[in-house]
């Protein structure tokens, strides 16, 4: 075919040469309009339309955004040489003040007075401002959740991906076939599931030197089973499909098939389990803090504030209620958001 012939336009259904199509002037009434226009909505817009209709999930998302804003505000206001809201100032005359109470002006030095003029959420047993401590702890608590889940997702996707894609390969020692990779990884999953998770985390955290990174790492390392199972199951079913065969037949290397074709298609359940995993990680961290193995003292976390407050439960119940309810709302928001994601990403529920 020469260039001239190509310029003639293409052959229509009845075989005669039609006028070349100009996409700019294509009328919506033309039956070809649908075929040449991009879809009206991007996948994200599609997702968003379904997600918007889910009231509880939207509530979760909004609460989450508020908490993120608060956490960022917490970094800005409570860090630096002279923070606006100082979580470390000790004011012994003002210890265990209830929320919304005014500081005793006479006995507290002027530079130690709270920025707002009142203790918004009361003070603790050393007279530290609970509001400032909660703000400071927000980023710690949230980042424990995110880092821990990040670790478990990376581990899980890696292990699950290997089991799904290379599962049939044999592990050989010398010339003997020991077992397939898949068998080994399934056995690993069984082993991990046989451990009492919380007890294991508690043991390891107690034996290692106290540090926030240890806690994040251990919560993360014990949580890889969920994502690994999802990814493995999805890849096992996806790799038999035609588009993978097509990718293989044009000579795409394995990592390209895995990264560009398999993982994007199997990421939905992982995202959902990650969101719910963050909720669980925040709960685990607060439970560890409660048992005395949490993030070490200079860092305030919600779990720490709660566990310090338990000694004054009858005199200063706000030290229990404020962090407790904050944790409840955060975890609830993550759970609602995760369930909303699950419903939205499930193609069966799409209309």
């Amino acid at each position: 075919m020469t260039n001239e012939e190509r310029g003639q336009g293409f052959k229509g259904a009845r075989g005669q040469v039609e006028k070349p199509l100009n996409l700019q002037t294509l009328e919506p009434s033309n039956p070809l309009f649908e075929d040449f226009m991009p879809p009206e909505r991007t996948p994200f817009q599609d997702f968003w339309m379904v997600f918007k209709g889910n009231g509880m999930a939207m509530a979760g998302l909004i609460i989450l955004l508020i908490f993120f804003a608060l956490a960022i505000m917490g970094i800005i206001t409570t860090s630096g040489e002279k923070p606006i809201l100082d979580p470390h100032t000790v004011r012994l005359p003002d210890k265990l003040k209830p929320p919304l109470s005014k500081p005793t002006i006479d006995s507290v030095p002027k530079e130690n007075l709270p920025y707002l003029g009142i203790y918004l959420l009361g003070t603790d047993e050393l007279g530290r401002d609970t509001f400032a401590r909660m703000l400071q702890g927000a980023i710690v608590s949230l980042s424990v959740g995110f880092v821990a889940v990040g670790i478990s997702i990376i581990l899980g996707v890696l292990i699950g991906g290997i089991a799904g894609f290379y599962g049939e390969n044999m592990i050989k020692i010398g010339k003997y076939n020991i077992m397939t990779i898949d068998t080994m990884i399934v056995a690993l999953i069984d082993i991990q599931l046989s451990f009492p998770t919380f007890f294991l985390i508690l043991t390891v955290v107690a034996l290692l030197p106290p540090s926030i990174w240890n806690i994040m790492a251990i919560i993360g390392i014990t949580g890889w089973v969920g994502p690994a199972r999802f990814v493995r199951a999805d890849i096992l079913s996806l790799r038999e499909q035609e588009f993978i065969l097509a990718a293989k037949s044009i000579g795409a290397p394995d990592f390209r098939i895995i990264l560009l074709h398999l993982l994007p298609n199997s990421i939905a359940p992982v995202l959902v389990s990650a969101t719910i995993g963050i909720a669980t990680a925040i709960l685990t961290e607060s439970a560890l803090s409660f048992l005395g193995f949490g993030v070490p003292p200079p860092n305030a976390t919600w779990g720490n504030i709660l566990s310090d407050g338990k000694k004054y439960i009858f005199d200063a119940p706000w030290l229990t209620y404020i962090p407790g309810i904050t944790i409840l709302f955060t975890v609830l928001a993550f759970n609602l958001f995760g369930e909303g994601l699950r419903d939205t990403l499930n193609p069966k529920l799409r209309t």
């Binding site: 451990f195 998770t197 007890f199 034996l207 944790i327 409840l328 975890v331 759970n335």
Partner: protein, 319 residues
């Protein structure tokens, strides 16, 4: 059938072996040794240290320690580092207390979760369903210890009665009807707390199972035949929806240890979870490893039992 049993048992023993090795290694390779608890104590001479290490095999290479550990465990000679009492005796003593709590908690969970879940599924989208959905999310998200403290505040301030421990202090030997009653009262709060998360999760699960079955063709057929709603829901749908819960019976067992650490610590309930926590605080390695091992045995036994049960309940599964 026999082949399946043997094969499955064989696999479970291998898993158990690896679990025991890993838990042993985690604990023994962690920095710090139990014999270093107080190196500054002047009465704790070097000879004492050697004697101590020899008594608990800490001076031998790791693999010998491992073998000796499990040999002692199975012959019942394993001693706790802390008070030199046999580990098995300590654990069995605590086991019954935990079992009691676990038993009451499980009954509460199953008795509440099933009616709530089934009702929510039948009335899908109505007020009851929406409220129970929200409530179960809230219960899952609530830190257990926070709820425990709120309930303790409430019960103590309103009723002014003791709630901690297994019996009221100073009321020992008050005669037959009162001792069990006292114990029962002390069971109430911890078992409710152990049940809350379970109720929330299980009722959601029951609801989704029930919804799945209600959407099936044979339910429509049953309705088309003119059966009443109750007959369809309970005779046709529920029976099939219950199938997966047979496996849950097996999954329940491990909750005996892991799920109760916090609740037992708060309520000073002398069970296995609290013993584990105290052992961790005291670096009492034999107890920690034994509890880990014991819990793995429970998990594996649970999955094995549920596999077998599933086979009996569902005639479609042949192994």
């Amino acid at each position: 059938m026999l082949v399946f049993t043997v094969k499955s048992l064989y696999k479970k023993f291998i898993t158990l072996f690896f679990v025991s090795v890993i838990s042993f290694l985690i604990i023994h390779l962690a920095p710090g040794e139990p014999s270093q608890i107080n190196p500054l104590n002047p009465r704790f001479t070097k000879d004492d240290l050697e004697r101590y290490r020899a008594a608990f095999d800490l001076d031998k290479p790791l693999h010998t320690q491992y073998l000796l550990f499990f040999k002692k465990l199975f012959t019942g000679n394993l001693k706790s580092f802390k008070d030199n009492q046999p580990v098995m005796g300590k654990i069995t003593e605590r086991f019954y207390n935990s079992l009691l709590l676990f038993f009451v908690g499980t009954i509460l969970t199953w008795c509440l979760a099933f009616p709530v879940g089934i009702h929510a599924a039948i009335k899908r989208g109505f007020t009851f369903d929406r409220w129970t959905t929200f409530l179960s999310y809230a219960l899952i998200s609530l830190p257990g210890f926070f709820l425990a403290y709120v309930m303790i505040i409430f019960v103590v301030e309103v009723f002014n009665v003791p709630v901690l421990g297994m019996r009221t202090f100073g009321r020992e030997g008050i005669g037959f009807p009162f001792t069990p009653m006292d114990k029962l009262w002390h069971l109430v709060l911890p078992s409710i707390l152990e049940a809350t998360a379970g109720i929330a999760i299980l009722s959601r699960y029951v609801r989704s199972q029930m919804l799945e079955v209600i959407g099936q063709d044979y339910i429509r057929t049953a309705k088309a035949k003119g059966l009443t709603d109750d007959e369809v829901n309970y005779n046709h749908a529920l029976k099939n929806a219950l199938l997966p819960f047979v496996t849950m019976f097996g999954m329940l067992l491990p909750g005996l240890i892991g799920g109760s650490v916090i609740i037992e610590s708060i309520f000073a309930w002398p069970g296995m979870g609290r013993m584990g926590y105290e052992a961790i605080l005291a670096r009492d390695f034999p107890i920690i490893i034994t509890l880990n091992f014991f819990s793995a045995v429970l998990v594996l036994a649970g999955t094995f039992v549920s596999d077998l049960l599933y086979m009996f309940v569902d005639p479609r599964i042949k192994l």
